[in-house]
Every structure is written in C-alpha cells, then in structure tokens.
C-alpha cells in the first residue's frame, strides 16, 4: 500500500519535473524568461550541445565567460598553461570523437593556444577555442592584453570568428559546432570582446538558423568514381591498403577489415591510422614510412596497387614522390577534395566519407589471389622483424614493449614527439582507432601528457598511458597539478635518455656526431618532481626491474609517473632518410657515414 503510494507520488514528481524540463526547453528556444548576457548565452548553447568539459585558464577579458560557468552543467578544468588546455581538448576529442572546448583570455592567453591549434588543424581534430578579447572600441588600439588572435591564427584554423554582436553569439556557436566536426574536422576559434560577452542578450532564440552558405558538408561520393576505382583491382597481384587518420575519424574500422579480408590484401597504417585496422591482425604490416616496419616498407616498394584510405600521402610515408610506387596503381579515398593530386597523382579517386565509400567498394571488388604476395611479405617479416637488445642496459623499446604486454595492449596511449613516439608506434600495437593519440602532422613536443589528461576525462573508465620523452614532458609538466586535483589515474611513462634523442640520432648519423643543442643536462629528478605535486612516482633503470615496476605502476589506482632511465644513445630503426624513397631504407645501424638528407626533417 505504502509502496504503491510512493510510486504514485514519485510518478507525479517525475512527471512534473519532466514537464518542467519540457517547458523550459520550449521557453529557451522561443523567449528567455530571465535576462542573460552574451557569455551566459554562449555557455547555454554549449550546454545544449552536450559539452561536458571546458579546458581553460582565466584572465581579465574572459571574466564574463568564466562567470557564466558558475553553476553551469559544464565542468571547467582549470589548467596551468593554455597550451595544455588545447592539448587536453584535443586528447578528449580524439578519444571520444566529440569536439573539445578551450577557454582562454586575450593576448598571451590566446597566443599560448596557437601551438595547440596548429596541432589540431594538422591532424583534423574538432576543437572550439574561445578567446576573451579587449572591448570592441579598443580593438586595434594596442589595449592591455590585446592580440589580434583572429589574424594570428588565420592560417592554422579551419574557421574563425571575431564576434562583434552579442545577439549573434548563438548563431556563431552553432556554426562553429557544425563546422568543427563536419566534413574534414578542424579547430574553430571565437574571438570574443569583453563588451560583447557582458552585454545583455536580447535575441529571441538560442537555436537560430545558421548562415554559412559557403560551408560544404561532406559530399556524397559519386557512384561512378567508386565503380572506376573497383575496376582497377582486377588482376592486381600485390595490393596494399594504406590506412590513415581519415579512416579512424570516419569510423571505417569494420569496413576496412571487411575489404582487407575480402581482397586478402595486406594492410599498413600511418602513425595516426594506428588501430583502425588491428595491428595484431594477420594481414597487418604495422606502420609504414620513415620509421615504419621494414616489411611495411617492403610492401610499399613492391606493391602493384595501393589504396590510401584517409591518408594524405605525407612526406613521412612518401619521402620522394618521383620515386613513390612508380609501378603501382594509386587509388585515393579522401573526404577533402584538396588532398586529391596534392602529393600523389592517383589513377582513381573518390571524395567522400571513407566508411560509406568502402561499404560500396566492398560490393564491387572480387577476392584477389594474393598467396604469393603474402608469402613474400611473410619472408620480409621473418627476415627483418622489429628488434632490440637488452645487452647494453634498459632500452626504451623494452620499456614500451613491457608496457604493451602488462596492459595487454588495451590502454589508450598518447605520446610526445621524437624517438619514444616512434618506438611506441612500433612496439605498442593498437587494435582500436581511438586508442592511439599522437601529434602526427605538427609533431608537437609537450602534447603527450595533456592529451592523456583530456583522453582520461573523455573515457574515465579506460586506462590511459602517456608515453613521453624527457624533453617533451618538461614542456607541459605543470599539468601534473591538473591531473592531481582532478584525481585522474593517468600513467605518465617518461622515457628518459637525457637527450633530445631524435635530433641526436640525426646528428650522429648525418652530421658526424657533432652534437648541438641536444644534451638535456640538468633534467630534474622526475620522481621528486612528481612527489612535489603529490603524485605517486616509480623509477626504473635496470632491465631486471622493468616488468615488476611496470606492473605496480599500471595497477596503481591514481595518477602516477614512471621514470624510466634508459640508455642514452640509441637509434630508431628502420629509418628512411628524409627526402628519399622507401628503397633507401636503413634497417640496422649503418657502418659507414650517410649523406645528409635532402628532406626537411
């Protein structure tokens, strides 16, 4: 009896709550009951899009926006440096597929985001960057903390706005939200003068029509283009599928697998394509390119057909496009028409969503006879495996390989940039696309740790490991405070060789070992450093302790730092010298002096 009554009361309360929510929703799209200002309109719009977190650092010109966050559903994550905020938003976006949001103040607060914006733009990451700005009458008058961030970031954003009208805020936010994630994703910046965010919002709706007639949504792929592409598979004896970040973004994982298995074609991946096709699959060749596996590069040299799925044939893969797959048919699937013919002239191409295109393509191709081809590649795989030796002491490779085994390959891995990044790509195999988070295009040092924080916010139940170098980690280590206060169980694995190792490797191999600007003498004691932030730290420097320490660290429930002191002078192989084709791959340490590379880095 009482029970029933309770249920009834509960139902009534529930209904009234529901109705109220329904009513307020209706009100919010027609007329606003209580007056709000521009900043509140901005935050309400972001709430309506389902934004969970804003990564930011406050400042004078952004105070109205921070004020609007008081009591908001959106959780503000206060960072220690704005670059960290952008990488956190980036890591969050890559781990979840949802846009990351950044909020900073004007002037230096805004300029500190530039590296993070470039990183997101180069790797097609959806991100909204909200910048406070001086009041609009002072624009262009060198006001305190004024920077023309709209102008400064123009070459590195997908799109940007200088908002001059309070009532335009909901439209601008809606457009930004649409632009950042539709088509090829990329960062969108909003420059928000303080008088605009402080002024009353008198618009009639928080959900207005967008006004972006020039924005092209993803084009529907042309059937004729897919048919043309499918025909080229006929008679191919040595096909190779090349999977890039675009395939990850398009969630084309299943389609890639189906196509590879139907064709019986080997698959290689770019650095950012890692995991889209499981690297543990029998058809996977692993990563190709400058520091890719020897067998992937052998497959590249010897293939008679190569299909790029969402890769832009960049110079890490195609060192010299005059010698690139000269005898192979080149096929290209990309969402961005501007990528077609940019580096490689394809024999067939389709512009559109990779997943949709592949699903059509699968129906149109027949299985290929690749027995001989796979046998040939198997020979290379056995002849030139990735390897390392434990003879000289603890190596980065052993540390990463152990991390892979201890975590059973299930962790979300983020990296910095340099040798440890390449070793992580080689030894931490990835089976899921959104589990590998690394700065590919921009090659941003300092990316690894903050992006891990972002990834952990986005996927709180998953194990997140940031594999970082001693150089890169020191660029954004202040975010240890952010990890600590938010009790994020991120594991920071510092591969410490006391060098900027990749440059040292180049100087050793190509510049007569004339070391310049690479010695990181003066590194802190990373264990003490972590402890100073209240974070648990582990240390290893011997082969014998690697596994035990790794097990303890990965099982530790909170955030922790693992300081792995590895041998100082070790090189990443295989290596294709910059500017050269994969034919010139160096598989093991060379015994003679090498020519200086013609490519940039």
């Amino acid at each position: 009896m009482y029970f029933h009554l309770h249920v009834k009361i509960f139902m009534v309360i529930y209904k009234s709550l529901f109705m109220e929510e329904f009513m307020t929703k209706k009100i919010s799209t027609t007329s606003l009951a209580t007056p709000i200002n521009g900043a509140q309109a901005l935050i309400k719009c972001l709430e309506n899009f389902g934004v969970e977190y804003i990564f930011g650092l406050s400042g004078g010109a952004a105070i109205p926006i921070f004020d609007a966050l008081v009591g908001s559903k959106i959780k503000l994550i206060l960072v220690r440096h704005e670059q960290g905020a952008t990488h956190m938003a980036d890591g969050y976006a890559r781990a979840t597929g949802k846009p990351g949001v950044v909020l900073v103040t004007s002037g230096p607060g805004a300029t500190n985001t530039v590296t993070g914006i470039l990183t997101a733009q180069m790797d097609s990451v959806p991100m909204i960057v909200l910048c406070g700005q001086t009041i609009s009458p002072m624009l262009g008058k060198d006001a305190f903390q004024e920077a023309d961030i709209f102008g400064i970031t123009m070459p590195v954003v997908k799109h940007s706005y200088l908002v001059k009208e309070t009532n335009a805020i909901p439209r601008v936010v809606k457009e930004a939200w649409h632009i950042t994630q539709n088509g090829r994703p990329g960062p969108v910046l909003l420059d928000l003068p303080k008088d605009i965010t402080s002024a009353p919002f008198t618009g009639s709706t928080l959900d207005p029509e967008m006004d972006i007639p020039g924005f092209k949504d993803t084009a529907k792929a042309k059937k004729a283009d897919i048919i043309k592409m499918a025909k080229l598979f006929k008679g191919a004896k040595k096909p190779l599928l090349l999977v890039g970040h675009g395939a990850v973004i398009a969630k084309a994982s299943d389609a890639v697998k189906k196509l590879a298995e139907k064709l019986n074609a080997p698959v290689t991946n770019t650095l950012l394509g890692k995991g889209c096709f499981p690297e543990t699959h029998r058809l996977s060749m692993g990563m190709l390119g400058m520091h890719g596996t020897a067998y992937a590069n052998k497959a590249l040299i010897n293939c008679d057909l190569i299909l790029s799925i969402g890769s832009r044939w960049d110079d890490r893969i195609n060192g010299n496009n005059k010698e690139f797959c000269v005898n192979a048919k080149k096929l290209h699937i990309d969402i961005d028409f501007a990528e077609i013919n940019k580096i490689v002239k394809p024999d067939a191409w389709v512009v559109g969503d990779a997943k949709e295109i592949l699903e059509e393509l699968i129906k149109l191709v027949d299985p290929l006879d690749t027995k001989e081809w796979l046998k040939e590649l198997d020979f290379y795989r056995k002849e030139y495996p990735l390897k390392y030796s434990n003879d000289k002491g603890l190596t980065a490779q052993l540390v990463i390989d152990t991390c892979y085994k201890v975590t059973k390959g299930k962790a979300i891995v983020t990296t910095d940039v340099g040798q440890h990044q390449m070793w992580a790509a080689q030894f931490y195999l990835s089976d899921r696309g959104n589990d590998w988070i690394s700065s590919g295009g921009a090659g941003t040092m300092g990316y690894g740790f903050p992006s891990a924080i972002g990834a952990q916010f986005g996927r709180p139940k998953d194990l997140v490991v940031a594999i970082v170098g001693d150089g890169g980690f020191q660029m954004t280590l202040c975010e240890l405070a952010t990890a600590f206060i938010n009790k994020l169980p991120v594991k920071v694995l510092i591969i410490d060789n006391k060098y900027l190792g990749m440059v040292r490797q180049w100087q050793e191999l190509f510049f007569d070992n004339r070391l310049s600007g690479v010695d990181l003498e003066g590194n802190p004691d990373f264990v003490k450093l972590a402890e100073a932030y209240g974070i648990k730290a582990f240390h290893m420097s011997k082969v014998s302790e690697c596994q035990d320490v790794m097990k303890q660290a990965m099982a530790y429930p909170g955030p922790c730092v693992i300081h792995a002191e590895v041998i100082k002078e070790d090189n990443v192989f295989p290596m294709v010298p910059a500017g050269k084709s994969a034919h010139h791959m160096i598989i093991e340490a060379p015994t003679e002096k090498l020519e200086k590379p013609t490519g940039s880095t």
Binding site: M154, H159, P213, G214, K216, D336, A338, N341
Partner: protein, 165 residues
Amino acid sequence: MNNSNTHTISVLVANKPGVLVRIALVFARRAYNIDSLVVSPTVNPKYSRMTITAKGDPETLDQIIKNVDKLVDIVHCGEHDATHSIEKELALFKIKASSAAKTFIKKYSSQYNISIDDTSDSYLIIEQTGTTVQLDEFEALIRKYGLVELVRTGKVLIAKGREST
C-alpha cells in the same frame, strides 16, 4: 602580362570580415603571384565577387582553387577562360600633352576604344576599356609619347550564357 601562365579565377564570397585575408594567405603560402584583384558587389548584397588574375604553374593553381573553395566563407571558386566568358579591364593613362600625342590618339581612338578624359595642366588623361591584351598593346604604343602614370583596374569577367561565373 597575358601569357599561358596567367590564370583568371573568379571567387564568390560571403561578405564576412577577413575573407580577403584568408584568400590571400592561400596564394601567399604557395608563392603564387597575384597580378590583379577586383572586388565588386553582386546581385545579392550578401555576397561579393572577386576576380583574381595570377601567374604560376597550373598544378599549384589547382591546389589553390581547391583550398580557396574549401574556405568556409567562399561559396564558389573556379578558373575561367576567354572563350567561355566576357572579360574587360579599364585603364587610365597620363601622358604629356603634345600635338603628336593628340594626333596619335585621334588616329587610334576607335581601334583601341580610347577617349580623352582630361586635358588640364598640359597633361592628357586617356581612358581605355578593353581586353587585357588590347590594354597591353596600347600601353606599349603610348609609352613613346611620354607616359607619366598608369592605373589599371584589373580584369573583370563574367561567364557567357547560362553558365554562372
């Protein structure tokens, strides 16, 4: 000015702040030299038309057009040629007034579509409308008569018939 390396690109843009800078950045990054750029209103006040003539290799241009077209504020960007469009340009020439110059201008006024706009202070200002080639030809001739200043509008172009520009 008019050789096979010169291309005419027509861009339909939304009238938003910064749109010109965004387009200029695409050209500048690829070291593509802009010879002329004309911005003018269209039938719809929301949009403007930019007509750009630029020099460089066709492959780079192809990338530029694709990258300009990709910009959010750009509705359409494409290359046009003289056979499928009408192109015109206007030039103003300032020369020292002389009887020889006046005789010359009289003689060629209909051939080159020129007229004298001003004759003050012993200088003549001559106006010419025509194709870029016609303007180039006349400029070469008028130089002999003491060309002091020269201002050209840059080419504008409109697609013929049903095709939109």
